[in-house]
């Protein structure tokens, strides 16, 4: 007759095995999200933008008003002649927001209770987005390259708001301008296991006739690591006396 599994003969070894398995489970990190916040959808991971260098993949541009329309026309005219003007990034200054959302470098999205953190390879920028109910009052006197962000969750979607962005940054490398009244809304959700989708809406009553919306996607890069990126190491594109981006003639000393 077979011994039942729960007989005393099996009890002690079974208890030992169970304790050992628990220890082993504790000692071996579980594969999965590195920085997930269990209370919310998992958006964490290392992501790379798809869809090219233009702010909107279809190359559409916000309907610009007045002096902003003139500024963009001036930049476009120079661009078409092979001259880049007003380009802060040529001097290794930050791309700023929302340009940062489309630079062709990966970022790590880290979720912790009450906060989402974006760790960018490009210029080693960090965006800290509190999701604890705090918000930021618009104040042009406090404008910075990346502005101030805060967020909240709507179901599986992370909504990030950003204000207080410096007006000398551009939406992309073609030089689309904005004012210090810019308000950026990002709506992030996981489209599938390997894709994040971000629907970006820009509202800027001073520079844009109407809100502008575009959608960007980001591909998961599970094998990649964020690497160092120091723009000042050997920048040969700094703006010349006319404010034009240099073609890199002077070699590194």
């Amino acid at each position: 007759m077979n011994q039942p599994f729960t007989s005393r003969r099996w009890l002690l070894p079974a208890l030992f095995t169970s304790a050992w398995l628990q220890l082993a489970a504790a000692a071996t990190p579980t594969l999965g999200p590195l920085y997930a916040d269990p209370a919310h959808a998992d958006l964490s991971g290392l992501w790379l933008v798809s869809g090219g260098f233009y702010f909107a993949p279809d190359r559409s541009v916000p309907k610009l008003l007045g002096e902003y329309k003139t500024t963009y026309a001036r930049r476009t005219e120079a661009f078409n002649k092979g001259i880049a003007i007003d380009d802060l990034t040529a001097d290794c200054l930050p791309a700023g927001m929302p340009h940062l959302l489309t630079v062709p470098y990966p970022f790590e999205l880290m979720q912790t209770p009450g906060r989402v953190t974006f760790l960018y390879e490009y210029d080693s920028v960090v965006r800290r987005v509190p999701t604890d109910g705090s918000a930021v009052k618009p104040d042009p006197d406090k404008a910075t390259y990346h502005g101030n962000s805060w967020g909240h969750w709507e179901g599986d979607t992370l909504v990030v708001e950003t204000v207080n962005v410096r007006p000398d940054t551009q939406l992309d490398f073609t030089g689309i301008p904005h004012s210090d009244a810019l308000h950026i809304t990002e709506r992030w959700h996981r489209k599938d296991a390997k894709t994040l989708e971000n629907t970006i809406t820009l509202t800027d009553p001073t520079a844009f006739a109407e809100p502008f919306t575009t959608t960007r996607t980001y591909q998961l890069k599970p094998k990649w690591k964020i690497a160092e990126y120091v723009c000042e190491e050997n920048n040969r594109n700094a703006r010349d006396e006319q404010g034009h981006t240099s073609g890199g003639a002077p070699a590194r000393k």
Binding site: F53, A78, F79, N80, K81, G82, I83, A84, D87, T89, A90, C92, V103, P104, Y105, E121, Y122, F173, T174, G175, K221, K223, W224, A227, E228, Y229, V230, C231, E233, N234, N235, R236, N237, T245, S246, G247, G248, A249, A251, R252
Partner: protein, 123 residues
Amino acid sequence: MKHLKRFALLALVPLLAQAHHSFAIYDSAHQMTIEGTVKEFQWTNPHVWIHVMVKNDQGTEEEWNVECTSVNFLERRGWSKHTFKAGDKVSITLSPLRDGSKGGSFRTVNRINGAVPKFEAED
């Protein structure tokens, strides 16, 4: 299962050099190929640079500055600080500077010392 490695032939993968500044300075619609000898390879950010000595129609050597993307970008495509060295005979396709200076935005490397280079891309 054997891990499949993806080999990217750089000649088939057009790369935009521009990554930290406006790309207006290059004539992206056109490409040209230069052949010459590497004088210097700068494996640096924000851009990697290849200096190539190229003989002009008069037989005089001229220095061309080829601007590539970043260390970060190229390392993931299998490049390293040893991809080029001074003295290498190279054939490189670029989009030229629009102001006519001897330089351009890197597109592809066709040959290094007579061989078609292979680079292992990172997934």
